[in-house]
Structures are given as C-alpha cells and as structure tokens.
Symmetry: C2
Amino acid sequence: MSKKTRIGIVGYGNLGKGVEKAIEHNPDMELIAIFTRRNVKDIEGNNCKLIHISQLELFKGTIDVMILCGGSATDLMEQGPMVSSMFNTVDSFDTHARIPEHFKNMDRVSKEAGTVSLISSGWDPGLFSLNRLLGQAILPNGMDYTFWGKGVSQGHSDAIRRVEGVKNAVQYTIPIEEALEKVRAGKNPKFTAREKHKRVCYVVPCEGADLNKIEETIKTMPNYFADYDTTVNFISEEEFKKDHCRMPHGGFVIRTGNTSEENKQRMEFSLTLDSNPEFTSSVLLAYARAIHKFSQEGRKGAVTVFDIPFGYLSPKSPEELRKELL
Amino acid sequence: MSKKTRIGIVGYGNLGKGVEKAIEHNPDMELIAIFTRRNVKDIEGNNCKLIHISQLELFKGTIDVMILCGGSATDLMEQGPMVSSMFNTVDSFDTHARIPEHFKNMDRVSKEAGTVSLISSGWDPGLFSLNRLLGQAILPNGMDYTFWGKGVSQGHSDAIRRVEGVKNAVQYTIPIEEALEKVRAGKNPKFTAREKHKRVCYVVPCEGADLNKIEETIKTMPNYFADYDTTVNFISEEEFKKDHCRMPHGGFVIRTGNTSEENKQRMEFSLTLDSNPEFTSSVLLAYARAIHKFSQEGRKGAVTVFDIPFGYLSPKSPEELRKELL
C-alpha cells in the first residue's frame, strides 16, 4: 500500500492532541483535519488543521477514518452516530453499562451508511479486555483479576476539588502489592475494594483552610473514598505544578488457572504509562489502521477489538508479519 | 451453538496428552479420536480413543478440527499437508526459518481441499508473536525484547545428555533480572547472548565419571553453552526424579516506546508456566475453536494467529463478550 490512511480527529482535548502526536510516529498515516466545537480562533497555537465541527460534511470522501476524541460518554453517544453516518469511526467509549446500547446505535447507523465503526477501543476497555478474553479462552479453569494504577483517576480528583477549602488536587489509584502477589501465586483470592487498591491524594489547600476538616471530608466520602485506605498529603501550588501535572496510569490483567491438578499456569499483561491520553491515542490510531482495511474490504457496521485480527493493526503485509514477527 | 466442536489429536506425546486434558476443561469441545503412528496395543493406559494413523481417512466428516501434536518440525512438515487435505488443522510449527515454506504448503493443500489450517500457534510462536506485533503497532517509536524462562530447554538438555559420563540431565534457561530491569526502564539496551539469559544445568553423572571433565565439556560447548554463563550442578538420580521432571517454562515480551519526548510507555506480557506442553495444548485448543468457526464461515487456506480475531477464541457469543468482558 503506497497510499496513506487519512485521519480526522473530532475533539481537541488531551486525547485529540495525543492522536495528533501519534500520527507523527506512523509514516503510513496522514492527518487531514481536527474538528472542534470551539471557536477555532480561540484555540492557542493556531493549528492550521483545526476546523469547526459544522464543516464536517465537507470532508466526506477525503478522510478514511475519523477518531472520536470527545471528552465524555455523552459526547460520544451523540457525536458517534452523527459522524459514523458519514465516516468510518474509532472511539474509546468506556461507560461499561451502556456499551450494548452504544454498539446498537452505531451498528444501525454504520450499516445504513456503509461505514465501519469501532467502539470502546483504548486500553480498558480495549487491550485489557482482549487479555481478559484470552485468559478465559485458554485457561477456562481459572480466575482473572484486573488492577489499575499507579494512575490518576480524573473522577476522584474532581471529587476532591469540590471539597470546601481545596484549591487543587490529584488522586492516584495504587494497586496493593500484597494483593497482586496473592493473585500471582494462584490463590484465587476474594478481595474487598480496600484490599485491592489504595488511594493517595495530593491537595493544595486554599489559604487558611481547615486541613483536618478537608482530610476528614475526603476520607469519609461515600463511593469515592470511604471503602478504601486513603492517604491525604497537603502540598503547595508549586509542588503540585512540578510533580503532579502528568497523567500516568497503567495496570495489570492477570489470569491464573490449572491445566491439570498439579500444574498451575499464569498469564499477565501490564501497562506502565507516563501519559494515559498519549497511550490511549496510540491504541486508537493503530485501530484506525485496521478499520480502514476493514472498510476497504467492504465490511460495514459496528465492531469491537474482539472482532479485529491483530494483523490488521500493523502497517506490515501478512507475508512480512509471518517472516519477521511470528 | 449447541453442537460441540469435535476434536481429533494427531500424535500422543506430551502435547497430545495436554490437548486430551484441556478438552476436559472445555464443555463445548469433544474428543473424537487420537491418532498415533505407534502400535495402539503397545501404548500404556489402553486409551479407547487411540487409533492407528492409517485409519485417519475413515474419520473424514466426523472431526471438525485436527490438532497436530507431532513431535518435531519434520513431523509437522510431512503430516501437516497430509492431514489438511482432509481436515481443518491447528499446529505449533516453530522452526522459524521454515515458516514461509510451511505456510505456502499448507495454504495450497488447504485451498484445494476447502479446509482451514492454522500454523505456528502456541505461545512462541503464538501469543508472544501477537504481543510483539501489538507493541510495534501501538508504539512504533520503541523497541521490543523477548526473554525466555525460567524454563527447560529440550535441545540443551539433549546436548548435555550426549556428553560422555552423563546419565541424565536437564537445562534451565533463566532470564537475567538486571537485563529485564534495563529493558523495563526503557533504556533500549543492546545485549549479548550472555547478558540476556543464563543457563543452569542439573546433571546426573554415571558412576565413576570425571565430573570436572563433564563440567568443562558442557561449559565450552559451542552454540549451546560457550556464549552463556553456565552453571553445572551434579545431583543424584533420586533428586533428579523428585525435582526436575516437570516441564516449567515461560517468558516475557516487553515493548517500551515514547509517544512524545517526555512520555515513555511500557507494555509487558508474561507467562509463568508449570507445564509448557499443557499450556501450549490449551492455546492450540482455543485456536481450534476459532478454526472451526472460520471453516463454518466458508473460509479456506492457511492462516496464522495474526489473522484470527480474539472473539473467535471464546465459546461466548459476541453479545456476551461485549457485555461481560469489554
């Protein structure tokens, strides 16, 4: 294939910017345009590929795959069907309970339009889902566990920032080492939330705020913190800016199982990420390559990572893959 | 699907026995027959499913997928085309340099016969290959490393057993922890063979043998040991039987890469196996499920793990997979 895969990005937040960077590392990909709901002139940097989303339709036929980088599940449930009525799409929809509904919507629209739409890609859902499936298919007589972190939870950080007297805050979810070791040993443990992950918070207080009260409010917050061992560290704005503005994340999918009474087997997949959005973007871009190939083969409708052979993710030909990577 | 996938096994060594056990853990699979070149009456246990390989053709139409468990690459290159002219097949062909040739042979025969043949499945080639591909597709600006072990190398164990004065022996390949850590730190190191793996041997000497000479012969053996740090331990036949008759193995595929100048990302897949043949068998069986579905869809010809969507490996429906595992 000499022709590049022509990519469009919808949404110019952290994820959209990550896709923009990822395209630079993939010589078979070409960025055509970035669509935003904001006023293009208001966006810093004045990127000449930024286009207002109202112009989307004009690009029909010039973009092979549109990567949906909308900030929230609501964005994706609205934008998804709209965009997939005109373009092949890839999204990272992660509201688990609504996946069947989103799949159904995207499938209907894409089949009518003759496009392919990949939903719920990224690393979880995405690569972690693939590893859960693989573990269960190969070791049916076993258990799997997913751990997340060390990583920033945006939802928990937001919850802390809403506490009175908090100026800024970040929350790290950290898997508990002893729990990981129990799982790796194949003991098939049952965990409470507290036994699997702990929560560590870095809080910049407002001047004169009651630190004890902030700490108490965080630690007893239902759903978010009450069921976990939570540590609250107060830091200055300077420290916050210096040490806590990155978005690290990662995690583990571990499957252990027995193939016979005496033989235990373990499969483990893990990610250690300096930047969650940049890694997620790189996954979405590899899947955009696959979706372009799917579409060229005449397929249509919604698909997930479970439907896509790994060979489609690579720019290499099947012959090259067999020779170099098998 | 209410109908079970009907499995045949060709070859009744460790791998074939592993498939036989794995079928017990998979209620959607059914063992029809095990084919062997040996005289069926000579085989211990008197398994009533054992059939002489000359009877293979009689089973046409009653077996959905034949799992080829021949002991050597030579077996598979001969048996493969013969069996795939009548049945869908799955094999674990692992002579890397001859993969293109084996693929070509199997593809030609399978296309003529209207069967599907999966070649080079298992964990390496197989699951490790998938992870190498995934790492390169997602983090093109990076490097990947494969480490093997701790595990028994059959080839190296055989080489020691050929040394004069050696009664029995086993060799473990062990990845060097410092090398793993350098790779995990994203330093993109270049390794000599000696820096990546070490070799530890357990040798039962013949009575009166010259131990120093055995040790010297092993450690200086070209290709097998001379390029590695090798440790030789002499043990009794009893110790050997007690501690060294299992076939553990495993390894790591690690990809590190940068998505931007400041952000490093790491993907790691690892296996820790009590029994190499039993795990490999379980992988082959999951892929047999996929090959049965491929065949039911009317596909034909040779394929590899790169061509098969993970969804096909699972007994669950696409709806269940999206709901439960995504």
